[in-house]
């Protein structure tokens, strides 16, 4: 489904601030994979997502999505196939526009001159009710009035309205309070499994990294240093992950937001 072959990216090349964010990274995800990604600060996790979604062009290497070479495709075109959520709930929706208008943008069907139809509204209402947040009765209200959790749930709905080939979740529950985070996470799980989405999720919660999905990848210095799935992963504990990191890198895993347990 997703294949990265030998991608590299260096920021500010040739200056004292040169930083190799991705170095010769290769990676393959199968259709339906739900992969959690962990790593220290600056390991290149978000940079990896930026490379996949096209926020910048990589310096070298190829990116293939569903057999199509998207290495040089601009970000807005990739966005038709890739849904993405950020940590900041404010990044995914337009606060000055209504819930309905935001959803209409995300729904993606209809020509440029099409209006929101009655049928669209019914569909939006039906989808919103799945969130169980009462948003279906507030469709005319501006998104700016929603709480962070509601907004992130809405963004999740928008990103998956037309099921994308790939869903990228960049610590999308990290800025929410624990209760809301749990709710958004369980929504994520439902949506991913119902639509059989291929999903990559960055998390700082080691326990959910092991509990969620079918595969876990550990990154350091722009490379993948550990990749585990199957039975071996099932029996793994958080402590084992930490030991593994030390074994691979030679120092303690250090992430200022890392949660070692639930």
């Amino acid at each position: 489904m997703l294949t990265l072959s030998h991608i590299s990216k260096t920021f500010n090349p040739g200056t004292v601030n040169a930083k190799t964010a991705l170095s010769d990274l290769s990676f393959h995800a199968d259709k339906g994979d739900f992969i959690t990604i962990i790593g220290a600060n600056g390991a290149g996790k978000s940079t990896l997502f930026n490379a996949i979604s096209g926020s910048f062009m990589t310096d070298s290497g190829r990116i293939l999505l569903d057999g199509e070479d998207i290495t040089l495709m601009p970000e807005f075109k990739r966005a038709k196939q890739i849904g993405r959520l950020f940590q900041d709930p404010m990044l995914g929706s337009a606060p000055g526009m209504s819930i309905e208008e935001n959803l209409a943008l995300a729904a993606g069907h209809g020509g440029w001159l099409s209006h929101i139809s009655k049928k669209d509204k019914e569909k939006f209402r039906e989808r919103l009710s799945l969130l169980e947040m009462g948003l279906e009765d507030r469709m005319k209200q501006p998104v700016g009035l929603l709480s962070g959790g509601q907004r992130q749930a809405l963004t999740l709905m928008m990103a998956t309205f037309t099921p994308p080939k790939l869903l990228l979740l960049d610590e999308h529950t990290a800025a929410l309070d624990p209760g809301t985070a749990e709710k958004v996470l369980s929504l994520t799980r439902e949506i991913v499994s119902e639509n059989h989405l291929t999903c990559l999720m960055i998390t700082h919660n080691m326990q959910s990294a092991l509990n969620l999905g079918n595969r876990t990848v550990m990154m350091n210095n722009g490379s993948i240093i550990y990749d585990i799935s199957g039975d071996e992963r099932k029996n793994l504990k958080v402590n084992d992950l930490l030991l593994k990191f030390k074994e691979c890198v030679g120092k303690e895993l250090d992430n200022d937001r890392m949660l070692l347990s639930e």
């Binding site: 979604s53 096209g54 926020s55 601009p74 970000e75 807005f76 075109k77 966005a79 038709k80 993405r84 404010m90 990044l91 995914g92 929706s93 337009a94 606060p95 000055g96 526009m97 208008e101 935001n102 209409a104 943008l105 995300a106 993606g108 209809g110 020509g111 440029w112 001159l113 099409s114 209006h115 929101i116 928008m158």
Partner: protein, 310 residues
């Protein structure tokens, strides 16, 4: 001053307000929706005036309107292209285009800074002839101005509800979400500025033809006048649905001209127009900021007077 002259002054203000409201509606699209302060507005307004006048003088009064609007679209395209594809800051792109348009406008007027349309057949004289011997024979300017404004308001209300319109609004409202929502910000910015500049040019074209002359300074200060009108309109109908806000914008433009006309009656010299519009814009934009600073200011004073324990 008798009732008749008051009415005639009122009608004059109304005509001017409606014609310039087209520029205000253009800024409603570019400034309020797309969040781009389009500083090419002055030059584009003049471009519409000169192109419209040149085409009308050449004997094509009806063609003058689409020709002026097409010139506006071209000007808007260049401004948008500079800021989206050439890496030029959006304010600077507007200023550069504005400067370039000065030469273009002189060229369009045939190496002159003034064109006279006293004997030219324009849309206004055509309607005047058509309405001769009817009760509306003297209202031809008002009718055209009103018609143009209504059409543009309806167009904008419908356009901003389309998917393209929503994408333009999202581009201005939250640029962060745009590329990850499969919207091409280059495309939305170009379309937005092309449409808005076509209205600016239409506004200039109609003003020039209604006053039967165009000079190179006709658009000077339009961007500030239009911003002032936009912000006045926002005070009355700043929130709510788009059609209502668009109507508010037109009202703002009329109110601005009425206030200006009244001020002229009280012997304010005509050249004060631009200073007044500048002051209105300063007040309207800075007021919310200054208001938010009041608590901080109060606390500073209280601390200085030693009223608050540190």
């Amino acid at each position: 001053m008798d009732l008749n002259s008051i009415l005639s002054l009122g009608e004059n203000a109304l005509q001017l307000g409606l014609i310039s409201s087209l520029t205000v509606l253009a800024l409603f699209l570019s400034y309020s929706m797309l969040n781009v302060c389009d500083l090419s507005t002055d030059g584009c307004f003049t471009l519409g005036a000169t192109v419209g006048a040149a085409v009308a003088i050449a004997g094509h009064p009806l063609l003058s309107i689409p020709a002026a609007m097409a010139a506006g679209i071209l000007s808007g395209f260049i401004t948008a292209f500079l800021q989206t594809k050439m890496g030029i800051n959006s304010l600077l792109a507007g200023i550069i285009v504005n400067t370039g348009l000065y030469s273009v406008n002189i060229a369009v007027m045939g190496n002159s800074s003034l064109l006279n349309m006293n004997r030219t057949k324009t849309v206004f004289t055509m309607l005047k002839d058509a309405l001769a011997n009817t009760p509306f024979s003297q209202n031809y300017v008002l009718i055209i101005a009103l018609l143009a404004t209504v059409l543009v308001v309806i167009f904008l209300s419908l356009f901003l509800r389309t998917k393209l319109g929503l994408a333009i609004r999202a581009t201005g409202n939250n640029p962060d979400m745009v590329p990850s929502s499969s919207i091409n910000p280059v495309f939305t910015t170009i379309v937005g500025l092309c449409v808005s500049n076509s209205f600016t040019a239409l506004s200039g074209c109609l003003l020039a033809q209604s006053q039967k002359s165009v000079n190179i300074d006709i658009g000077t200060g339009m961007v500030t006048i239009a911003l002032a009108s936009l912000l006045i309109g926002g005070i009355f109908l700043g929130k709510g649905k788009i059609p209502l806000r668009a109507i508010g914008v037109v009202l703002g433009s009329i109110i601005f001209r009425v206030i200006y006309t009244i001020a002229l009656r009280f012997d304010m010299p005509a050249y004060m127009l631009k200073l007044v519009s500048s002051i209105i814009v300063i007040i309207a934009i800075s007021a919310p900021y200054l208001k938010s600073k009041i608590p901080e200011f109060k606390r500073k004073i209280a601390l200085k007077r030693g009223k608050e324990a540190v």
